[in-house]
């Protein structure tokens, strides 16, 4: 199995090594037991020696007890080792994801990460568990059983020596053949699940456009493909049993033939023949197990690759040793900034942006859909790195700061706002774990959220459900602003964060900003002119470039885009022609 992944076994190494040892002991006993059984038949029963039967019987019972103890313990440590390994893998993936920068997050969709953390890890866990139990058991069983056979009859042992590699080879050949088919099956499975997910999410769209038949057809096609691929893969694996049976029966016939002649000639006792039969079965069963585990490993291999993909993703941003931990002030400078989400050669989202913002200023940003407003501000807390040029905060390149310290000082309310399951207190405290209730209230007052929170029956202890869907859009936005304020940042960025808030409350929030946190630089992206009109400086974005900078008055004179937006929103009712 995968070397790199196996490192994650860590503290469960002890169990992982103990399991094969215990299994070895168990197998040893399992091989000795039939030998004892043969003696009971040959010596005890043949000679009618009751004492011998009882004596050996007791020994056998003790051995069975020991074998039980070893076997049970082996099962337990293997289960713990595998579950522990899975736990560590989940831990590693989750911690790795926490290291991801925004660019890394873009590479993986949420459902794909969830599948890796669940289904894929379960596959690896099962394969690991069976591996440490079976892969120790099978070879030891084969070797010991063979040795035992050899002590009875060299001829039969030699016969087996030929059969084992042939059978093993065939089984491995089948597993190898099936492997690529299984990989295809899983890929197609992903597509199938994706189609279902889309249909569940977009049930309204499908119904509104009366596309049920269309979707059914699409689904049937994929489902047929899954059927075909799966059938193909499993048909290959289905060869295992008949091949296995064939070899087993052939060996049985040969053993009886050779053994029978030997018995007649007096070279072998009947009990010995019975024992050889048992050993032969044990060898064949072991090989069957190997092929079973082999198929499992093959399937888990596909999962391992998917897990590795996450673990090997290189975080785009790593702190330097001598990173700055202090942000001097809220100055922001963009110097010849080019940016592309696709890296060096990609389409540029920002082209040669130059910008200077003084600490404490209120800056409004306005611009059309896709004009790169969000892209621009995301560079300030270094959610992405610039492609060319540089962004400075407090006079220093953002890449020189310790990321955590930088983001503590640059607080951003994202466009896609998310609240988490938990009380309002807990949600706001994301901004500062140690904040007192009074501090939480204060920032809620600033964000004009205290009013509606107090009206809830449970006040600040009101539980927020997943996604924050039990508060209205405007309330959610204000809670998110409060959460950002609690960080006491030097720079505060609102990315279209008051769109659902009424203009009056919006104005109150800005007033509070101006009066209560005068030293903090405030950047406000909005579609509503009234949200930015009173800013110290307004930036008009168009198609990745700054189209104009200035106060509202200046821009009305100089900037066509601004004027157009302004007029369409402010002038009044009958200007839609």
């Amino acid at each position: 199995m995968n070397r790199k992944l196996l490192k994650s076994v860590r503290e469960y190494k002890k169990q992982a090594f103990l399991a094969p040892v215990l299994v070895t002991l168990e197998v040893l006993l399992e091989v000795l037991i039939p030998l004892l059984m043969a003696n009971i038949i040959d010596i005890g029963i043949m000679e009618g020696n009751m004492d011998y039967i009882i004596k050996m019987g007791i020994v056998l019972v003790i051995m069975a007890m020991l074998s039980l103890a070893f076997g049970a313990k082996a099962g337990q440590v293997a289960a713990v080792a595998a579950a522990g390994y899975a736990k560590n893998l989940r831990h590693d993936i989750f911690y790795k994801i926490q290291e991801f920068s925004f660019g890394n997050i873009d590479h993986f969709s949420t459902p794909s990460l969830v599948t890796r953390l669940t289904t894929d890890i379960t596959n690896v866990q099962m394969a690991f568990m069976f591996s440490i139990r079976m892969l120790a058991r099978a070879p030891i069983m084969v070797v010991l059983s063979w040795i035992m056979t050899a002590t009875i009859s060299l001829k039969i042992a030699f016969l087996m020596l030929i059969t084992i590699p042939v059978l093993g080879g065939v089984l491995i050949f089948i597993a190898k053949k099936a492997h690529p088919h299984f990989i295809q099956v899983f890929d197609e499975y992903d597509i199938l699940n994706n189609t279902v997910q889309e249909n569940v999410n977009a049930a309204r769209v499908v119904k509104a456009y009366v596309r049920e038949e269309h979707e059914n057809e699409k689904f049937h096609k994929i489902s047929l493909k899954v059927f075909d691929l799966f059938t193909k893969a499993e048909k290959l694996v289905a060869w295992n049993s008949p091949v296995m049976n064939f070899v087993m029966y052939t060996v049985v016939l040969l053993i009886v033939l050779i053994g029978g002649e030997d018995i007649v000639l007096g070279n072998m006792m009947t009990g010995e023949l019975t024992s050889i039969m048992v050993y032969a079965m044990q060898i064949l069963m072991s090989l069957m197990m190997v092929s079973f585990v082999f198929v499992m490993i093959m399937i888990a291999e596909a999962s391992s690759d998917r897990i590795k993909e996450v673990l090997e993703e290189v975080p785009e941003m790593v702190d330097k040793e001598d990173a700055l931990t202090e942000v001097a002030n809220g100055d922001i400078d963009f110097e010849h900034v080019d940016f592309s989400y696709a890296g060096e050669d990609g389409n540029l989202s920002l082209k040669d942006v130059n910008l200077h913002i003084k600490s404490g200023q209120i800056v409004g940003i306005i611009g059309g859909t896709g004009s790169a407003k969000s892209t621009l501000v995301q560079l300030i807390p270094r959610l992405y790195d610039v492609t060319r040029g540089c962004v400075k905060v407090g006079g220093q390149d953002v890449r020189k700061y310790n990321l955590e310290k930088l983001r503590d000082q640059v607080s951003m309310v994202l466009q896609k706002n998310v609240l988490f399951t938990g009380s309002i207190y807990e949600n706001i405290r994301w901004g500062d774990e140690s904040a007192s209730n009074e501090e939480v209230r204060r920032v809620c007052q600033l964000a004009q959220a205290d009013g509606f929170i107090s009206e809830f029956p449970a006040g600040y202890n009101t539980m927020i459900v997943e996604g924050g869907n039990n508060v209205s859009g405007g309330q959610k936005q204000r809670l998110c602003i409060a959460r950002a304020l609690l960080k006491k940042p030097k720079i505060l960025i609102l990315d279209d964060s008051t769109s659902a808030v009424d203009t009056r409350t919006d104005a109150l929030i800005r007033k509070a900003f101006r009066e209560e946190i005068p030293d903090t630089t405030k950047i406000i992206i909005a579609q509503r002119i009234s949200s930015v009109e009173d800013a110290d400086m307004i930036i008009v974005m168009d198609n990745g470039k700054i189209d104009g900078i200035g106060t509202s008055e200046e821009l009305l004179k100089t900037n066509a885009i601004y004027r157009e937006v302004y007029e369409s929103q402010v002038k009044g009712g009958n200007d839609n022609e």
Partner: protein, 629 residues
């Protein structure tokens, strides 16, 4: 499931199992009989390994001992016969494993297909009442366990059960006295495996629960991962994750521990039985009771050995079968959900006007549609031109019977009018549009569409006549072209381009490296919210519907682009009816009528100017004194 969390077989489980069997026998009757037959043959072959040993020893080998020149020909004959049985066994094994693959996958395919098809017929209410995650897990987790059961557990259990029965009979024939001992041991094995199996089942169920919890947590955190980053909340997330992870580890390791202990325990009970049988058998043969010969003992002991093997397998498969049946039960529950009822009989047809002014049905698309209204009593058919005249009469509605959302709503939208709804979240705006396209049915009052009660219109035709752009844009995996064409599957490329231009989406699409052939994955996450809305509008535009419903369709589009889009839409919808729901009042200012909704009632109605003059709620909203959310 019982109180202590151990899995139990209930009446329902049996019903589910029967229904599942129905899937097998209905399509694969012949194959299934073949499988049963083959399993029987192959178990007989496999049992004859130990069964034959006695005969071979007693009848063909031992008599030859001591002969000067032993004649092996009879032994060879016997071995040849045995070889034939074995050959049949191999062929049977081959046949049943192969057939089982086809049956298993075939049943799964049918279950999946039926499940999906049925899901498409379910009313929107079903999707409201079940989380996306729980619906998804029917297709993933539950179908997966079903697959394992059909492919692995069922053949193994069938085989094992047959082995147990045949072996038991063989043992009974060989020595009834010793078999009494075997029965005692069997009872012991059942008791032990029930105890262990119950415990492992308990933990397996707990493991599923812990797995679900961790999935839920990860899903929520991943969706908000950007917020986690912005707030440096990684450490805290990790701590919370560790707690859930530890829980899962505990239940998983316990579940698997119990499951793996099963093998050694049953196996060694088997060893115990061997000793007891040997002691008892030895005693009996020495005493000469029960006609026990050496050959009988040898075979019998062989049987006791092979007896435990199938037992172990049944015990091990028991849990997975119970778990799979629980999954199947959930799947069947979904398939038993009542589909959307549709008693409509009025259909939508292409039409053209004859010279005398009457309407005539025709095959080709004329740009004119008519409602085809058959009257059963007289056996006649009347045609009504589709105009888009929508009227609500005293309509009331609630998602739950005791909680009404809309009260006594009466309103008219004449063809060509643009009607807007304004109001805070929960005021019932979206509900109104849900009723027009009959995602839900009104409880009281009625809705008439071109004078026809909408309950009489076939749902599919009703919806085809309504273009709708929803609050949440949903795009499908495929190219941008495919996604726009979703509105009209047979649209030409030209029509798609025009729709995109009209929605002002053409510009940004052209900027993409692959243009219209850009692949969208996971709901078009690579596009901005505003761009996705533009695509949704283009999708509606290509459908060219007589009535259009825009539900917050432009909320993420800047006002400048919006006004361009609006102009395009106004041109497209000239003479047709439009319903608009919007947050931003600038979006609805030019509507013919604006309805202000509050708590499911219309509190103000009129044009923008009327409402401003009224100085009521709308005025307050417009001047920013009230918050809309």
């Amino acid at each position: 499931m019982s109180k202590n969390g151990k899995p139990k077989v209930t009446k329902n489980t049996i019903k589910t199992a029967k229904r599942l069997l129905g899937y097998v026998t209905s399509t694969y009757k012949a194959q299934f009989v073949l499988v049963l037959l083959c399993i029987l043959i192959s178990s007989i072959a496999s049992i004859s390994v130990s069964l034959s040993l006695r005969y071979l020893l007693d009848d063909f080998i031992i008599p030859l001992i001591g002969h000067e020149d032993p004649d092996f020909s009879e032994l060879y004959m016997a071995l040849t016969v045995l070889g034939c049985i074995f050959a049949m066994g191999v062929v049977s094994t081959f046949l049943y494993t192969r057939t089982m693959v086809i049956i298993g996958q075939g049943v799964l395919k049918r279950v999946r297909d039926e499940m999906f098809e049925h899901m498409q017929t379910l009313p929107i209410r079903y999707f409201d009442q079940n989380t996306n995650g729980s619906i998804m897990s029917l297709y993933t987790n539950d179908t997966d366990t079903l697959r394992q059961m059909i492919n692995q557990s069922i053949p193994q259990v069938l085989m094992s059960a047959l082995m147990i029965v045949v072996t038991f009979i063989a043992m009974l024939v060989l020595s009834p006295i010793l078999t009494v001992l075997a029965i005692v041991v069997i009872l012991l094995m059942i008791a032990v495996s029930r105890f262990i199996g119950g415990n492992s089942g308990k933990y397996f169920i707990r493991q599923q629960l812990d797995l679900a919890n961790i999935t839920g947590f990860v899903e929520e955190r991943m969706n908000g991962q950007r917020v986690v980053k912005v707030f440096n909340h990684e450490k805290k997330s990790e701590e919370e994750f560790d707690v859930l992870n530890e829980k899962l580890f505990e239940s998983a390791s316990n579940a698997h521990t119990f499951a793996s202990i099963m093998g050694p325990v049953i196996g060694n009970i088997g060893n115990l039985q061997f000793v007891l049988t040997a002691v008892l058998g030895g005693f009996l043969s020495i005493m000469g009771i029960g006609n026990i010969t050496l050959g009988v003992m040898a075979s019998y002991l062989q049987f006791t050995k092979s007896f435990t093997q199938p037992f172990m397998q049944v015990a091990q498969q028991f849990n997975s079968i119970i778990m799979a049946l629980a999954g199947a039960e959930r799947i069947f529950k979904m398939m038993d959900e009542a589909p959307e009822v549709d008693e409509g009989y009025v259909t939508l047809v292409n039409a053209r006007k004859k010279e005398d002014g009457t309407i005539e049905e025709c095959k080709e698309r004329t740009g004119m549609w008519a409602w085809k209204h058959p009257h059963q009593a007289e056996g006649t058919v009347t045609y009504t031109e589709l105009k888009g005249d929508v009227r609500f009469f005293d309509m009331s509605f609630g998602y739950e019977p005791d909680h009404m959302v809309l009260h006594d709503l009466t309103l008219y939208a004449k063809p060509g009018q643009k009607l807007a709804f304004v109001g805070s979240t929960g005021a019932g705006k979206t509900t109104i549009t849900n009723l027009i396209n009959r995602f839900y049915d009104v409880q009281d009052g009625k809705i008439r569409y071109d004078g026809i009660n909408i309950n009489k219109i076939k749902k599919a035709d009703l919806r085809r006549s309504l273009g709708i752009v929803l609050q949440d844009t949903h795009l499908f995996t495929g190219t941008i072209m495919d996604n726009i064409r979703y509105g009209k599957l047979d649209a030409t490329d030209e029509e798609v381009y025009n729709a995109a231009k009209l929605a002002h989406a053409d510009q940004f699409i052209q900027m993409l490296p692959q243009g219209y052939n850009t692949m969208l994955t996971s709901d078009g996450e690579e596009l901005s919210q505003g761009q996705r809305q533009l695509l949704a509008i283009a999708r509606a535009a290509v459908a060219d519907p007589p009535v259009l419903i825009l539900d917050e369709a432009t909320s993420s589009i800047d006002t400048r682009t919006e006004s361009i889009v609006q102009k395009g839409m106004d041109n497209l919808m000239k003479g047709r009816t439009v319903f608009v729901i919007a947050h931003r009042l600038s979006t609805i200012r030019n509507s013919d009528a604006i309805m202000v909704l509050e708590h499911g009632r219309i509190i103000e109605r009129g044009t923008h100017e009327d409402l401003l003059a009224l100085r009521g709620t709308y005025y307050q909203l417009y001047t920013g004194k009230l918050e809309l959310s």
